[in-house]
């Protein structure tokens, strides 16, 4: 009885947009000039918003938050493939994706300033709240996908997470169950190489995240996460597979977190400047701009105009955010249950009476 190979698999990597701004014409997804402009504009808006948020945080006007700078290609490329009737299940670094879904900058500022009213996304946007516990939301994506399948809807779910989340049990349970139940979910991993200070090589012995899909019997693919066209192409394909065959997919967007993990750490303590510098050369926005300049979609004047327009929108949002009055104390009791229980009513009455006396 010879020992023979039983199964063999390969994992593909998709790249479309080269660093010099040229594209692989065969792989280039069909996108109109107008769509490419919108992609670019949204990536710039995301970057400008991120930079302004960082300043606000350093001034003490916002709390801790996770920056998206450098990951705009992965994030915006993915949500660009969504339809309004699809669901988005974010982690905590998805400001760009959330803006694209229709959450306002004012709301996000409110949330990251420590006011949860900003995280109460309207139900119609089909977007779950920002999920800061790592990996736990992947299961909600599976459940939503399952409910949509049961309801006979042809929409899909896109959920974001980082490579750190792939070490959690919930990641494993989510992918396994998605495979067993055949649900229309796209698991989108932004592998930005660091989970706080822990590098990818210390997160897993596997050379890629994408290959983890194989163990769960689902499709997995890696894309250049700083290549917005490759990300869009892979996500669109995955969403189509989800909608038509209810098949889940794991996409690994290979990218890099050029900033600190959040505003609370200093990445220089655990990685080299050279490493960061090498990745900065692969900036997703600059790469897209290269392409657009060559195509005649973008010139210096237009570039400046788009940046100024983004800054104007951000400034407006900051102004609106700063005029939001603080929440009332009774807010804490409001949404514990669909209808307040009596013990909660009693606690609320006692608290309000105390506040009244203090006034």
């Amino acid at each position: 009885m010879p020992i023979r190979p039983l199964v063999s698999y390969s994992i593909e990597r998709v790249e479309v947009l080269r660093e010099d701004g040229t594209v692989d014409e065969e792989l280039m997804p069909s996108l109109s000039a107008d769509e490419i402009q919108r992609l670019y504009e949204h990536m710039v808006l995301t970057r400008r918003f991120d930079e302004r948020m960082f300043k606000l945080q350093r001034q003490g006007r916002l709390g801790t938050f996770a920056r998206v700078t450098g990951q705009e290609g992965a994030q915006i490329g993915a949500v660009f493939a969504l339809r309004p009737d699809d669901w988005l299940v974010p982690a905590f670094r998805e400001n760009g994706a959330l803006l694209w879904r229709g959450i306002t900058m004012t709301q996000l500022l409110q949330y990251w300033s420590g006011d949860e009213r900003g995280g109460a996304f309207p139900r119609a946007l089909r977007t779950l709240p920002i999920s800061i516990p790592v990996g736990t939301h992947l299961l909600h994506a599976v459940g939503i996908g399952w409910a949509m399948k049961e309801a006979g809807e042809d929409s899909a779910v896109l959920t974001f997470f980082g490579e750190g989340a792939t070490s959690t049990g919930d990641f494993s349970e989510a992918l396994n169950m998605a495979g067993v139940f055949q649900v229309p979910v796209v698991f989108f991993c932004q592998n930005n190489q660091y989970a706080i200070s822990v590098p990818f090589t210390r997160q897993t012995a596997a050379p890629t995240v994408a290959q983890k899909a194989l163990g769960y019997g689902i499709f997995g693919v890696q894309v250049d996460g700083n290549d917005v066209f490759a990300v869009y192409r892979a996500t669109r394909e995955a969403l189509e597979r989800a909608r038509s065959g209810k098949e889940p997919t794991l996409i690994e967007a290979h990218t890099y977190r050029v900033t600190d993990h959040t505003t609370s750490d200093d990445a220089r303590r655990y990685r080299s400047d050279e490493e960061v510098a090498a990745w900065l050369k692969r900036d997703p926005i600059e790469r897209l701009a290269h392409y657009m300049r060559a195509q005649g979609f973008l010139d210096e004047a237009r570039e400046a105009e788009i940046a100024a327009e983004a800054d104007r929108k951000v400034a407006e949002a900051v102004e609106a955010f700063e005029s939001i009055p603080p929440p009332e104390p009774e807010e804490i009791f409001r949404h514990v249950f669909a209808q307040k229980t009596r013990p909660l009513e009693e606690q609320e009455a006692a608290l309000l009476a105390r506040w009244e006396r203090r006034r």
């Binding site: 109460a120 709240p129 736990t136 992947l138 299961l139 459940g143 139940f181 669909a338």
Partner: protein
């Protein structure tokens, strides 16, 4: 309280739960079941609660899951957010610890975090309790853990009648409900009406009336308290047994009113005494009826030890009828029956 307007029909606790699930699934196509070995295994779960439901409603609505507690709880939550009304089953409540984040950190909080613009109609069913020699990791009573978490409702039925009515209420509730059944109760019988009925949360049942000692008993301990009451009655001591039925919300008024009559409080559950729900019962009673106490309240609860595998040792670790009898006698010692107010 029970028995009135009830047609003569006796069901087991498991059958009553089964009927509640069946009727709610017939009434509302959004009700679906998720759990381990609840379908094709044939028995309807380890205790037969889901028996016949796969045949009636199909594999889409009665979903056998991988061994993946966090997985099916989280997926159940996601499905609830997207419009279904899932009932997830833990084969043993002990396994719910594998899904603790999904229950306490996710399901319990997501409505609050979304500012209320969402419903979380998720029922988490589990069987718990000791008395079957199932050992330390299959015999616990975890109600206090869940009662401690804001955003969860906690239900503990002790009779077939309550099991059916409360499960229907749980399924129709728009909040996550932890529904804790006791493994020794599945075979117990009691009257269950054929017609549709629900039991509102937050209403305790006065299981037996009495003048001398208020006994608040949870789940299986209601039956132990009934046994103790018979023994005590022979000695002229009357136990008033109150089953809160739901811990969140908790009906403290019924307990306070009873203490105003009896002046004595005894609380019993199988869960370990330390930081158990009995402490909450006692504290609420002290807040509400301090002046009426004729004796310090007593707890008759599980020892602060893991539940042993050995049946002999297990019996020593959980409160027995004799313990209740002894405690009730201690409460009436020194103060004449009828109390200071008679």
């Amino acid at each position: 309280m029970r028995g009135e307007q009830i047609e003569e029909r006796s069901l087991t606790y498991a059958q009553a739960l089964n009927e509640a699930l069946r009727e709610e699934m017939q009434r509302d196509a959004r009700v679906i079941l998720l759990g381990e070995d609840i379908g094709v295994w044939g028995g309807g779960g380890v205790f037969g609660v889901t028996k016949g439901l796969l045949e009636e409603f199909g594999a889409e609505r009665v979903r056998d899951t991988p061994i993946s507690e966090a997985g099916f709880t989280g997926a159940g939550l996601g499905a609830a957010l997207a419009g279904l009304r899932p009932v997830v089953e833990f084969m043993y409540v002990d396994f719910s610890m594998l899904a603790m984040d999904q229950i306490c950190n996710q399901a319990a909080k997501i409505r609050w975090m979304l500012g209320g613009d969402v419903s979380v109609p998720l029922v988490i069913r589990a069987q718990q309790g000791a008395g079957r020699g199932n050992g330390p990791q299959h015999s616990q009573s975890l109600e206090a853990w869940y009662a401690h978490t804001p955003g969860l409702k906690v239900v503990m039925p002790s009779t077939p009648y309550d099991a059916k009515g409360l499960l229907k209420t749980a399924i129709r509730d728009d909040n996550p409900v932890v529904f804790l059944e006791h493994k020794l109760l599945y075979g117990t019988r009691g009257p269950v009406p054929k017609e549709d009925y629900t039991i509102p949360f937050g209403q305790a049942a006065i299981v037996r009336q009495g003048r001398h000692v208020t006994c608040v008993a949870l789940s299986y301990q209601v039956h132990k308290a009934l046994e103790a009451a018979d023994v005590l009655a022979e000695e002229g001591i009357e136990l008033e047994i109150i089953d809160p039925r739901t811990l969140v919300p908790y009906d403290r008024e019924t307990v306070a009113r009873s203490i105003m009559k009896t002046g004595r409080l005894l609380v019993t559950h199988q869960a370990p005494e330390r930081a158990g729900f009995a402490a909450e019962v006692v504290m609420c009673a002290l807040e509400d009826a301090f002046d009426y106490f004729d004796a310090p309240p007593l707890r008759v609860c599980g020892k602060n030890v893991p539940i042993p595998y050995s049946l002999t040792l297990e019996a020593a670790a959980i409160p027995q009828t004799e313990d209740l009898v002894r405690a009730a006698k201690r409460l009436v010692e020194g103060v004449p029956l009828g109390g200071r107010r008679s």
